[in-house]
Symmetry: C3
Protein backbone atom coordinates (compact mmCIF):
# COMPACT_ATOMS: atom_id res chain seq x y z
CA UNK A 1 0.00 0.00 0.00
CA UNK A 2 2.80 2.40 0.91
CA UNK A 3 4.41 1.43 -2.37
CA UNK A 4 1.31 2.33 -4.41
CA UNK A 5 0.96 5.66 -2.62
CA UNK A 6 4.66 6.27 -3.26
CA UNK A 7 4.18 5.97 -7.02
CA UNK A 8 1.03 8.11 -6.93
CA UNK A 9 2.94 10.76 -5.01
CA UNK A 10 5.91 10.73 -7.39
CA UNK A 11 3.52 11.12 -10.31
CA UNK A 12 1.76 14.06 -8.68
CA UNK A 13 5.07 15.78 -7.87
CA UNK A 14 6.21 15.29 -11.46
CA UNK A 15 3.01 16.86 -12.80
CA UNK A 16 3.13 19.95 -10.59
CA UNK A 17 6.81 20.40 -11.47
CA UNK A 18 5.90 20.21 -15.15
CA UNK A 19 3.44 23.06 -14.68
CA UNK A 20 6.16 25.15 -13.02
CA UNK A 21 8.40 24.43 -16.01
CA UNK A 22 5.64 25.58 -18.33
CA UNK A 23 5.49 28.94 -16.53
CA UNK A 24 9.17 29.36 -17.42
CA UNK A 25 8.68 28.35 -21.07
CA UNK A 26 11.07 25.45 -20.82
CA UNK A 27 11.28 22.96 -23.66
CA UNK A 28 10.00 19.39 -23.39
CA UNK A 29 13.32 18.13 -22.25
CA UNK A 30 13.60 20.77 -19.52
CA UNK A 31 10.11 19.79 -18.37
CA UNK A 32 11.23 16.17 -17.94
CA UNK A 33 14.42 17.14 -16.11
CA UNK A 34 12.58 19.48 -13.76
CA UNK A 35 10.03 16.74 -13.10
CA UNK A 36 12.79 14.22 -12.33
CA UNK A 37 14.65 16.62 -10.04
CA UNK A 38 11.47 17.52 -8.15
CA UNK A 39 10.07 14.02 -7.84
CA UNK A 40 13.35 12.19 -7.20
CA UNK A 41 15.60 14.88 -5.72
CA UNK A 42 14.57 14.29 -2.13
CA UNK A 43 15.24 10.57 -2.22
CA UNK A 44 18.50 11.13 -4.09
CA UNK A 45 19.77 13.63 -1.51
CA UNK A 46 18.80 11.22 1.25
CA UNK A 47 20.58 8.27 -0.35
CA UNK A 48 23.73 10.33 -0.94
CA UNK A 49 23.73 11.69 2.62
CA UNK A 50 23.31 8.21 4.07
CA UNK A 51 25.85 6.70 1.66
CA UNK A 52 23.03 4.35 0.61
CA UNK A 53 24.11 3.11 -2.83
CA UNK A 54 22.87 2.32 -5.39
CA UNK A 55 20.42 5.23 -5.41
CA UNK A 56 16.86 4.00 -5.43
CA UNK A 57 16.17 5.16 -9.00
CA UNK A 58 19.46 3.67 -10.22
CA UNK A 59 18.28 0.35 -8.79
CA UNK A 60 14.80 0.76 -10.25
CA UNK A 61 15.14 2.94 -13.38
CA UNK A 62 11.53 2.49 -14.45
CA UNK A 63 10.75 5.26 -11.95
CA UNK A 64 12.45 7.61 -14.44
CA UNK A 65 10.13 6.41 -17.19
CA UNK A 66 7.11 6.99 -14.94
CA UNK A 67 8.22 10.53 -14.05
CA UNK A 68 8.99 11.55 -17.62
CA UNK A 69 5.74 10.03 -18.81
CA UNK A 70 3.79 12.00 -16.22
CA UNK A 71 5.60 15.19 -17.21
CA UNK A 72 4.86 14.76 -20.91
CA UNK A 73 1.24 13.92 -20.13
CA UNK A 74 1.03 17.19 -18.22
CA UNK A 75 2.15 19.11 -21.31
CA UNK A 76 -0.77 17.63 -23.21
CA UNK A 77 -3.29 18.39 -20.47
CA UNK A 78 -1.93 21.53 -18.83
CA UNK A 79 -5.19 23.47 -18.54
CA UNK A 80 -6.95 20.48 -17.01
CA UNK A 81 -4.14 19.88 -14.50
CA UNK A 82 -4.20 23.55 -13.58
CA UNK A 83 -7.97 23.45 -12.96
CA UNK A 84 -7.53 20.43 -10.71
CA UNK A 85 -5.65 22.61 -8.25
CA UNK A 86 -7.21 21.15 -5.11
CA UNK A 87 -6.83 17.50 -6.08
CA UNK A 88 -3.16 18.19 -6.75
CA UNK A 89 -2.66 20.00 -3.46
CA UNK A 90 -4.16 16.94 -1.78
CA UNK A 91 -1.89 14.60 -3.73
CA UNK A 92 1.07 16.82 -2.88
CA UNK A 93 0.15 16.63 0.80
CA UNK A 94 -0.11 12.87 0.51
CA UNK A 95 3.26 12.82 -1.20
CA UNK A 96 4.89 14.84 1.56
CA UNK A 97 3.73 12.35 4.18
CA UNK A 98 4.53 9.26 2.10
CA UNK A 99 8.01 10.54 1.17
CA UNK A 100 8.65 11.28 4.85
CA UNK A 101 7.68 7.75 5.90
CA UNK A 102 9.83 6.20 3.16
CA UNK A 103 12.75 8.41 4.15
CA UNK A 104 12.46 7.38 7.80
CA UNK A 105 12.34 3.72 6.80
CA UNK A 106 15.53 3.96 4.73
CA UNK A 107 17.40 5.63 7.59
CA UNK A 108 16.11 3.08 10.12
CA UNK A 109 17.36 0.30 7.85
CA UNK A 110 20.87 1.75 7.94
CA UNK A 111 20.75 1.80 11.75
CA UNK A 112 20.97 5.60 11.96
CA UNK A 113 20.61 7.77 15.07
CA UNK A 114 17.01 8.90 15.83
CA UNK A 115 17.81 12.52 14.90
CA UNK A 116 19.08 11.32 11.52
CA UNK A 117 15.90 9.25 11.00
CA UNK A 118 13.77 12.39 11.36
CA UNK A 119 16.15 14.43 9.18
CA UNK A 120 16.12 11.68 6.56
CA UNK A 121 12.33 11.79 6.40
CA UNK A 122 12.37 15.57 6.10
CA UNK A 123 15.08 15.61 3.42
CA UNK A 124 13.12 13.06 1.39
CA UNK A 125 9.98 15.16 1.76
CA UNK A 126 11.22 18.64 0.96
CA UNK A 127 14.49 18.67 -1.00
CA UNK A 128 12.77 18.02 -4.34
CA UNK A 129 10.79 21.24 -4.05
CA UNK A 130 13.88 23.21 -2.99
CA UNK A 131 15.87 22.00 -6.01
CA UNK A 132 12.94 22.84 -8.30
CA UNK A 133 12.90 26.41 -7.02
CA UNK A 134 16.68 26.78 -7.30
CA UNK A 135 16.62 25.57 -10.92
CA UNK A 136 13.73 27.95 -11.63
CA UNK A 137 15.84 30.72 -10.07
CA UNK A 138 13.51 31.44 -7.14
CA UNK A 139 14.14 31.68 -3.43
CA UNK A 140 12.73 28.30 -2.36
CA UNK A 141 9.05 28.56 -1.45
CA UNK A 142 9.43 26.05 1.35
CA UNK A 143 11.37 28.68 3.29
CA UNK A 144 8.52 31.13 3.17
CA UNK A 145 5.11 29.51 2.85
CA UNK A 146 2.65 27.43 4.83
CA UNK A 147 3.74 24.69 7.21
CA UNK A 148 5.50 22.16 5.02
CA UNK A 149 8.73 20.96 6.53
CA UNK A 150 7.09 21.15 9.93
CA UNK A 151 4.45 18.67 8.77
CA UNK A 152 7.26 16.39 7.62
CA UNK A 153 9.07 16.63 10.95
CA UNK A 154 5.92 16.03 13.00
CA UNK A 155 5.01 13.05 10.82
CA UNK A 156 8.49 11.62 11.16
CA UNK A 157 8.52 11.99 14.94
CA UNK A 158 5.10 10.38 15.35
CA UNK A 159 6.07 7.53 13.04
CA UNK A 160 9.42 6.87 14.68
CA UNK A 161 8.12 7.07 18.25
CA UNK A 162 5.36 4.63 17.30
CA UNK A 163 7.88 2.16 15.91
CA UNK A 164 10.06 2.55 19.01
CA UNK A 165 7.00 1.80 21.14
CA UNK A 166 6.75 -1.53 19.33
CA UNK A 167 3.66 -0.77 17.28
CA UNK A 168 3.44 -2.65 13.95
CA UNK A 169 4.90 -0.81 10.95
CA UNK A 170 1.70 -1.08 8.90
CA UNK A 171 -0.36 0.45 11.67
CA UNK A 172 2.14 3.28 12.19
CA UNK A 173 2.07 4.10 8.47
CA UNK A 174 -1.68 4.63 8.82
CA UNK A 175 -1.25 6.67 11.99
CA UNK A 176 1.43 8.85 10.37
CA UNK A 177 -0.85 9.43 7.39
CA UNK A 178 -3.75 10.26 9.72
CA UNK A 179 -1.59 12.85 11.48
CA UNK A 180 0.45 14.39 8.67
CA UNK A 181 -2.09 14.55 5.84
CA UNK A 182 -4.84 16.51 7.67
CA UNK A 183 -2.21 18.75 9.29
CA UNK A 184 -0.89 19.82 5.90
CA UNK A 185 -4.36 20.27 4.39
CA UNK A 186 -5.53 22.35 7.35
CA UNK A 187 -2.31 24.40 7.20
CA UNK A 188 -2.95 25.23 3.54
CA UNK A 189 -6.60 26.00 4.12
CA UNK A 190 -6.05 28.37 7.05
CA UNK A 191 -2.71 29.61 5.71
CA UNK A 192 -0.91 28.56 8.86
CA UNK A 193 2.66 29.69 8.64
CA UNK A 194 5.76 29.51 10.74
CA UNK A 195 6.64 32.86 12.28
CA UNK A 196 8.83 34.87 9.94
CA UNK A 197 12.22 36.20 10.91
CA UNK A 198 12.36 39.59 9.24
CA UNK A 199 15.62 41.36 9.81
CA UNK A 200 16.10 44.66 8.08
CA UNK A 201 18.80 46.80 9.60
CA UNK A 202 18.58 50.54 8.93
CA UNK A 203 22.13 50.48 7.71
CA UNK A 204 21.93 48.49 4.54
CA UNK A 205 25.07 47.72 2.70
CA UNK B 1 42.09 8.59 -28.82
CA UNK B 2 38.95 8.95 -26.70
CA UNK B 3 41.23 9.97 -23.88
CA UNK B 4 42.86 12.75 -25.91
CA UNK B 5 39.49 14.06 -27.04
CA UNK B 6 38.33 13.95 -23.43
CA UNK B 7 41.10 16.31 -22.35
CA UNK B 8 40.52 18.59 -25.32
CA UNK B 9 36.83 18.73 -24.45
CA UNK B 10 37.48 19.48 -20.78
CA UNK B 11 39.83 22.29 -21.78
CA UNK B 12 37.25 23.78 -24.14
CA UNK B 13 34.51 23.61 -21.49
CA UNK B 14 36.81 25.31 -18.99
CA UNK B 15 37.56 28.15 -21.42
CA UNK B 16 33.94 28.87 -22.30
CA UNK B 17 33.05 28.80 -18.60
CA UNK B 18 35.83 31.30 -17.92
CA UNK B 19 34.29 33.67 -20.46
CA UNK B 20 30.92 33.35 -18.72
CA UNK B 21 32.65 34.20 -15.43
CA UNK B 22 34.18 37.27 -17.05
CA UNK B 23 30.74 38.52 -18.03
CA UNK B 24 29.86 38.41 -14.31
CA UNK B 25 33.07 40.21 -13.25
CA UNK B 26 34.20 37.34 -11.07
CA UNK B 27 37.72 37.37 -9.67
CA UNK B 28 40.43 34.99 -10.84
CA UNK B 29 39.55 32.47 -8.21
CA UNK B 30 35.88 32.52 -9.14
CA UNK B 31 36.89 31.98 -12.76
CA UNK B 32 38.80 28.83 -11.79
CA UNK B 33 35.97 27.48 -9.65
CA UNK B 34 33.38 28.10 -12.36
CA UNK B 35 35.66 26.40 -14.87
CA UNK B 36 36.08 23.37 -12.60
CA UNK B 37 32.36 23.11 -11.89
CA UNK B 38 31.49 23.36 -15.59
CA UNK B 39 34.17 21.03 -16.89
CA UNK B 40 34.05 18.44 -14.10
CA UNK B 41 30.52 18.82 -12.73
CA UNK B 42 28.94 16.32 -15.09
CA UNK B 43 31.39 13.55 -14.33
CA UNK B 44 31.21 14.31 -10.61
CA UNK B 45 27.41 14.10 -10.58
CA UNK B 46 27.60 10.82 -12.50
CA UNK B 47 30.15 9.29 -10.12
CA UNK B 48 28.12 10.33 -7.07
CA UNK B 49 24.87 8.98 -8.55
CA UNK B 50 26.50 5.67 -9.41
CA UNK B 51 28.33 5.48 -6.07
CA UNK B 52 31.51 5.22 -8.15
CA UNK B 53 34.28 6.30 -5.74
CA UNK B 54 36.86 7.72 -5.83
CA UNK B 55 35.58 10.44 -8.15
CA UNK B 56 37.58 10.54 -11.35
CA UNK B 57 39.27 13.86 -10.58
CA UNK B 58 40.07 12.72 -7.03
CA UNK B 59 41.86 9.74 -8.56
CA UNK B 60 43.59 11.91 -11.18
CA UNK B 61 43.94 15.40 -9.69
CA UNK B 62 46.07 16.73 -12.53
CA UNK B 63 42.77 17.29 -14.33
CA UNK B 64 42.18 20.12 -11.84
CA UNK B 65 45.50 21.68 -12.82
CA UNK B 66 44.59 21.42 -16.51
CA UNK B 67 41.18 23.07 -15.96
CA UNK B 68 42.53 25.92 -13.83
CA UNK B 69 45.38 26.48 -16.27
CA UNK B 70 42.91 26.68 -19.17
CA UNK B 71 40.76 29.14 -17.21
CA UNK B 72 43.67 31.43 -16.39
CA UNK B 73 44.88 31.28 -19.98
CA UNK B 74 41.42 32.42 -21.05
CA UNK B 75 41.71 35.50 -18.84
CA UNK B 76 44.87 36.45 -20.70
CA UNK B 77 43.34 35.87 -24.13
CA UNK B 78 39.68 36.69 -23.64
CA UNK B 79 39.12 38.73 -26.83
CA UNK B 80 40.78 36.07 -28.93
CA UNK B 81 38.72 33.27 -27.36
CA UNK B 82 35.59 35.31 -27.90
CA UNK B 83 36.39 35.82 -31.60
CA UNK B 84 36.95 32.08 -32.02
CA UNK B 85 33.30 31.52 -31.38
CA UNK B 86 32.77 28.87 -34.02
CA UNK B 87 35.82 26.78 -33.17
CA UNK B 88 34.64 26.76 -29.58
CA UNK B 89 31.10 25.78 -30.51
CA UNK B 90 32.61 22.89 -32.45
CA UNK B 91 34.81 21.89 -29.51
CA UNK B 92 31.80 22.15 -27.23
CA UNK B 93 29.84 19.86 -29.56
CA UNK B 94 32.76 17.44 -29.55
CA UNK B 95 32.85 17.64 -25.76
CA UNK B 96 29.16 16.86 -25.46
CA UNK B 97 29.57 13.68 -27.49
CA UNK B 98 32.82 12.61 -25.82
CA UNK B 99 31.46 13.21 -22.32
CA UNK B 100 28.38 11.19 -23.24
CA UNK B 101 30.46 8.24 -24.43
CA UNK B 102 32.67 8.35 -21.32
CA UNK B 103 29.59 8.53 -19.11
CA UNK B 104 28.04 5.49 -20.82
CA UNK B 105 31.30 3.56 -20.41
CA UNK B 106 31.47 4.24 -16.67
CA UNK B 107 27.88 3.09 -16.17
CA UNK B 108 28.45 -0.04 -18.28
CA UNK B 109 31.48 -0.88 -16.14
CA UNK B 110 29.32 -0.80 -13.00
CA UNK B 111 26.86 -3.21 -14.65
CA UNK B 112 24.00 -0.71 -14.66
CA UNK B 113 20.58 -1.08 -16.30
CA UNK B 114 20.41 0.18 -19.93
CA UNK B 115 18.23 3.16 -18.95
CA UNK B 116 20.85 4.15 -16.39
CA UNK B 117 23.61 3.85 -19.02
CA UNK B 118 21.84 6.42 -21.20
CA UNK B 119 21.08 8.67 -18.22
CA UNK B 120 24.69 8.40 -17.09
CA UNK B 121 25.89 9.57 -20.50
CA UNK B 122 23.42 12.45 -20.47
CA UNK B 123 24.28 13.53 -16.91
CA UNK B 124 27.98 13.55 -17.80
CA UNK B 125 27.24 15.62 -20.88
CA UNK B 126 24.92 18.31 -19.55
CA UNK B 127 25.17 18.74 -15.75
CA UNK B 128 28.29 20.89 -15.95
CA UNK B 129 26.46 23.51 -17.99
CA UNK B 130 23.45 23.43 -15.64
CA UNK B 131 25.63 24.01 -12.57
CA UNK B 132 27.42 26.87 -14.35
CA UNK B 133 24.10 28.58 -15.03
CA UNK B 134 22.85 28.04 -11.46
CA UNK B 135 26.04 29.55 -10.02
CA UNK B 136 25.71 32.48 -12.45
CA UNK B 137 22.13 32.88 -11.25
CA UNK B 138 20.45 32.09 -14.58
CA UNK B 139 17.70 29.69 -15.50
CA UNK B 140 19.81 26.95 -17.11
CA UNK B 141 20.17 27.51 -20.86
CA UNK B 142 20.02 23.80 -21.56
CA UNK B 143 16.34 23.91 -20.65
CA UNK B 144 15.57 26.51 -23.28
CA UNK B 145 17.97 26.42 -26.21
CA UNK B 146 18.90 24.31 -29.22
CA UNK B 147 18.96 20.51 -29.08
CA UNK B 148 21.62 19.67 -26.54
CA UNK B 149 20.49 16.99 -24.14
CA UNK B 150 18.67 15.35 -27.02
CA UNK B 151 21.96 15.01 -28.88
CA UNK B 152 23.44 13.40 -25.80
CA UNK B 153 20.57 10.93 -25.48
CA UNK B 154 20.64 9.99 -29.17
CA UNK B 155 24.41 9.52 -29.03
CA UNK B 156 24.13 7.36 -25.95
CA UNK B 157 21.43 5.17 -27.45
CA UNK B 158 23.36 4.65 -30.70
CA UNK B 159 26.54 3.87 -28.80
CA UNK B 160 24.91 1.46 -26.37
CA UNK B 161 22.89 -0.37 -28.99
CA UNK B 162 26.05 -0.79 -31.05
CA UNK B 163 27.90 -2.31 -28.11
CA UNK B 164 24.95 -4.61 -27.40
CA UNK B 165 25.07 -5.73 -31.03
CA UNK B 166 28.63 -6.87 -30.40
CA UNK B 167 30.38 -4.18 -32.44
CA UNK B 168 33.90 -3.30 -31.23
CA UNK B 169 34.08 -0.42 -28.75
CA UNK B 170 36.59 1.57 -30.83
CA UNK B 171 34.36 1.40 -33.87
CA UNK B 172 31.28 2.42 -31.89
CA UNK B 173 33.12 5.45 -30.49
CA UNK B 174 33.68 6.59 -34.07
CA UNK B 175 30.06 5.86 -35.01
CA UNK B 176 28.77 7.76 -31.98
CA UNK B 177 30.97 10.72 -32.89
CA UNK B 178 29.79 10.56 -36.48
CA UNK B 179 26.17 10.67 -35.32
CA UNK B 180 26.28 13.07 -32.37
CA UNK B 181 28.75 15.69 -33.55
CA UNK B 182 27.05 16.63 -36.85
CA UNK B 183 23.63 16.46 -35.18
CA UNK B 184 24.66 19.09 -32.64
CA UNK B 185 26.37 21.30 -35.22
CA UNK B 186 23.37 21.18 -37.54
CA UNK B 187 21.05 21.89 -34.61
CA UNK B 188 23.01 25.03 -33.74
CA UNK B 189 23.21 26.15 -37.35
CA UNK B 190 19.51 25.79 -38.08
CA UNK B 191 18.47 26.67 -34.53
CA UNK B 192 16.60 23.40 -34.13
CA UNK B 193 14.86 23.43 -30.80
CA UNK B 194 12.69 21.13 -28.79
CA UNK B 195 9.08 22.28 -28.73
CA UNK B 196 8.49 24.66 -25.86
CA UNK B 197 5.88 24.09 -23.20
CA UNK B 198 4.53 27.56 -22.53
CA UNK B 199 1.92 27.61 -19.84
CA UNK B 200 0.57 30.95 -18.82
CA UNK B 201 -2.77 30.77 -17.01
CA UNK B 202 -4.87 33.94 -17.02
CA UNK B 203 -5.09 33.76 -13.27
CA UNK B 204 -1.58 34.45 -12.14
CA UNK B 205 -0.77 34.32 -8.51
CA UNK C 1 41.56 22.40 21.01
CA UNK C 2 40.91 22.10 17.26
CA UNK C 3 37.67 20.40 18.20
CA UNK C 4 36.52 23.27 20.42
CA UNK C 5 37.39 25.83 17.77
CA UNK C 6 35.50 23.71 15.24
CA UNK C 7 32.28 23.95 17.27
CA UNK C 8 32.79 27.67 17.86
CA UNK C 9 33.26 28.17 14.12
CA UNK C 10 30.19 26.15 13.21
CA UNK C 11 28.12 28.19 15.67
CA UNK C 12 29.40 31.46 14.22
CA UNK C 13 28.66 30.34 10.65
CA UNK C 14 25.16 29.32 11.69
CA UNK C 15 24.50 32.71 13.25
CA UNK C 16 25.68 34.76 10.29
CA UNK C 17 23.62 32.53 7.97
CA UNK C 18 20.58 33.16 10.16
CA UNK C 19 21.02 36.91 9.70
CA UNK C 20 21.18 36.41 5.93
CA UNK C 21 17.93 34.43 6.16
CA UNK C 22 16.36 37.28 8.10
CA UNK C 23 17.17 39.72 5.30
CA UNK C 24 15.12 37.45 3.01
CA UNK C 25 12.19 37.21 5.45
CA UNK C 26 12.45 33.45 5.71
CA UNK C 27 10.43 31.65 8.37
CA UNK C 28 12.02 29.99 11.39
CA UNK C 29 12.34 26.73 9.61
CA UNK C 30 14.06 28.32 6.63
CA UNK C 31 16.45 30.02 9.02
CA UNK C 32 17.44 26.64 10.49
CA UNK C 33 17.89 25.04 7.07
CA UNK C 34 19.99 27.90 5.77
CA UNK C 35 22.10 27.73 8.93
CA UNK C 36 22.63 23.98 8.50
CA UNK C 37 23.51 24.31 4.81
CA UNK C 38 25.98 27.12 5.50
CA UNK C 39 27.62 25.59 8.56
CA UNK C 40 27.68 21.97 7.40
CA UNK C 41 27.63 22.27 3.59
CA UNK C 42 31.39 22.44 3.19
CA UNK C 43 32.08 19.32 5.23
CA UNK C 44 29.22 17.51 3.52
CA UNK C 45 30.52 18.32 0.04
CA UNK C 46 33.99 17.19 1.12
CA UNK C 47 32.74 13.89 2.53
CA UNK C 48 30.68 13.17 -0.61
CA UNK C 49 33.60 14.02 -2.94
CA UNK C 50 35.95 11.79 -0.98
CA UNK C 51 33.37 9.02 -0.65
CA UNK C 52 33.90 9.34 3.10
CA UNK C 53 30.75 7.81 4.62
CA UNK C 54 29.03 8.20 6.99
CA UNK C 55 28.99 11.98 6.66
CA UNK C 56 30.37 13.64 9.78
CA UNK C 57 27.02 15.04 10.90
CA UNK C 58 25.28 11.72 10.25
CA UNK C 59 27.81 10.14 12.60
CA UNK C 60 27.43 12.92 15.15
CA UNK C 61 23.91 14.33 14.78
CA UNK C 62 24.15 16.59 17.82
CA UNK C 63 25.95 19.01 15.51
CA UNK C 64 22.54 19.56 13.88
CA UNK C 65 21.04 20.43 17.27
CA UNK C 66 23.88 22.89 17.92
CA UNK C 67 23.42 24.60 14.54
CA UNK C 68 19.64 24.89 14.81
CA UNK C 69 19.95 26.14 18.38
CA UNK C 70 22.41 28.82 17.30
CA UNK C 71 20.10 29.85 14.46
CA UNK C 72 17.06 30.18 16.71
CA UNK C 73 19.11 32.10 19.28
CA UNK C 74 20.07 34.52 16.51
CA UNK C 75 16.40 35.19 15.78
CA UNK C 76 15.96 36.25 19.39
CA UNK C 77 19.02 38.47 19.42
CA UNK C 78 19.27 39.70 15.83
CA UNK C 79 20.04 43.36 16.55
CA UNK C 80 22.76 42.42 19.01
CA UNK C 81 24.36 39.94 16.59
CA UNK C 82 24.25 42.55 13.87
CA UNK C 83 26.04 45.12 16.08
CA UNK C 84 28.73 42.58 16.88
CA UNK C 85 29.85 42.72 13.29
CA UNK C 86 33.56 42.67 13.93
CA UNK C 87 33.54 39.84 16.46
CA UNK C 88 31.61 37.79 13.93
CA UNK C 89 33.98 38.60 11.10
CA UNK C 90 36.80 37.43 13.37
CA UNK C 91 34.93 34.23 14.23
CA UNK C 92 34.21 33.72 10.55
CA UNK C 93 37.91 34.11 9.75
CA UNK C 94 38.71 31.62 12.51
CA UNK C 95 36.12 29.27 11.05
CA UNK C 96 37.60 29.48 7.58
CA UNK C 97 41.02 28.42 8.89
CA UNK C 98 39.68 25.73 11.21
CA UNK C 99 37.42 24.24 8.52
CA UNK C 100 40.39 24.20 6.14
CA UNK C 101 42.57 22.31 8.64
CA UNK C 102 39.81 19.81 9.38
CA UNK C 103 39.23 19.31 5.65
CA UNK C 104 42.92 18.65 5.03
CA UNK C 105 43.01 16.16 7.91
CA UNK C 106 40.07 14.17 6.53
CA UNK C 107 41.67 13.96 3.08
CA UNK C 108 45.05 12.96 4.56
CA UNK C 109 43.32 10.17 6.48
CA UNK C 110 41.93 8.77 3.24
CA UNK C 111 45.42 8.78 1.74
CA UNK C 112 44.57 11.30 -0.96
CA UNK C 113 46.95 13.00 -3.40
CA UNK C 114 48.46 16.31 -2.14
CA UNK C 115 46.41 18.35 -4.62
CA UNK C 116 43.25 16.71 -3.28
CA UNK C 117 44.30 17.49 0.31
CA UNK C 118 44.45 21.21 -0.51
CA UNK C 119 41.19 21.06 -2.48
CA UNK C 120 39.52 19.20 0.38
CA UNK C 121 40.53 21.95 2.81
CA UNK C 122 39.26 24.61 0.46
CA UNK C 123 35.95 22.85 -0.24
CA UNK C 124 35.36 22.45 3.50
CA UNK C 125 36.11 26.15 4.01
CA UNK C 126 34.10 27.78 1.27
CA UNK C 127 31.28 25.58 -0.05
CA UNK C 128 28.93 26.44 2.82
CA UNK C 129 28.97 30.09 1.87
CA UNK C 130 28.46 29.30 -1.82
CA UNK C 131 25.40 27.15 -1.09
CA UNK C 132 23.99 29.87 1.18
CA UNK C 133 24.24 32.41 -1.63
CA UNK C 134 22.72 30.03 -4.19
CA UNK C 135 19.74 29.33 -1.90
CA UNK C 136 19.36 33.10 -1.31
CA UNK C 137 19.41 33.53 -5.09
CA UNK C 138 22.63 35.58 -5.26
CA UNK C 139 25.76 35.19 -7.32
CA UNK C 140 28.05 33.73 -4.65
CA UNK C 141 29.96 36.46 -2.82
CA UNK C 142 33.05 34.31 -2.55
CA UNK C 143 33.56 34.75 -6.29
CA UNK C 144 33.68 38.51 -6.02
CA UNK C 145 34.85 39.73 -2.60
CA UNK C 146 37.99 39.92 -0.49
CA UNK C 147 40.54 37.11 -0.38
CA UNK C 148 38.67 34.17 1.03
CA UNK C 149 39.36 31.00 -0.89
CA UNK C 150 42.93 32.16 -1.33
CA UNK C 151 43.33 32.27 2.45
CA UNK C 152 42.00 28.73 2.60
CA UNK C 153 44.43 27.52 -0.07
CA UNK C 154 47.43 29.23 1.51
CA UNK C 155 46.51 27.82 4.92
CA UNK C 156 46.12 24.35 3.48
CA UNK C 157 49.47 24.46 1.69
CA UNK C 158 51.32 25.69 4.78
CA UNK C 159 49.66 23.06 6.94
CA UNK C 160 50.29 20.19 4.56
CA UNK C 161 53.91 21.11 3.82
CA UNK C 162 54.55 21.34 7.56
CA UNK C 163 53.14 17.85 8.12
CA UNK C 164 55.20 16.51 5.20
CA UNK C 165 58.29 18.04 6.82
CA UNK C 166 57.57 15.90 9.86
CA UNK C 167 56.45 18.68 12.19
CA UNK C 168 53.97 17.59 14.89
CA UNK C 169 50.29 17.99 13.96
CA UNK C 170 49.46 20.09 17.02
CA UNK C 171 52.23 22.53 16.24
CA UNK C 172 51.19 22.80 12.59
CA UNK C 173 47.60 23.56 13.59
CA UNK C 174 48.93 26.54 15.52
CA UNK C 175 51.16 27.60 12.64
CA UNK C 176 48.30 27.34 10.15
CA UNK C 177 46.11 29.45 12.45
CA UNK C 178 48.93 31.98 12.83
CA UNK C 179 49.20 32.25 9.05
CA UNK C 180 45.60 32.02 7.87
CA UNK C 181 43.75 34.01 10.54
CA UNK C 182 45.75 37.27 10.29
CA UNK C 183 45.85 36.97 6.50
CA UNK C 184 42.06 36.91 6.32
CA UNK C 185 41.64 39.72 8.85
CA UNK C 186 44.14 41.92 7.05
CA UNK C 187 42.48 41.12 3.72
CA UNK C 188 39.11 42.27 5.07
CA UNK C 189 40.59 45.37 6.68
CA UNK C 190 42.46 46.57 3.60
CA UNK C 191 39.87 45.17 1.19
CA UNK C 192 42.48 43.07 -0.58
CA UNK C 193 40.86 41.39 -3.52
CA UNK C 194 41.87 39.02 -6.25
CA UNK C 195 42.12 40.75 -9.59
CA UNK C 196 38.78 40.71 -11.36
CA UNK C 197 38.26 39.27 -14.80
CA UNK C 198 35.82 41.67 -16.42
CA UNK C 199 34.86 40.64 -19.89
CA UNK C 200 32.29 42.72 -21.66
CA UNK C 201 32.29 42.32 -25.42
CA UNK C 202 30.77 45.17 -27.42
CA UNK C 203 28.45 42.74 -29.11
CA UNK C 204 26.11 41.69 -26.38
CA UNK C 205 23.50 39.11 -27.09
Amino acid sequence: MLSIMFYVAITAEAMTAALAAGRRSMDWFGVCILACVTALGGGTARDVFLGHFPLYWVGNPYILVLVCGAALLTIATARLVYRLRWPFLLLDALGLVVFTIVGCNVAIDTGAHPIIVIVSGMVTGIVGGILRDVLCNDVPLVFRSELYATVSIVTGIVYYLGLLAGIATDLMVLVALAVGFPLRVVAIYFKWEMPKFVFDPQMRK
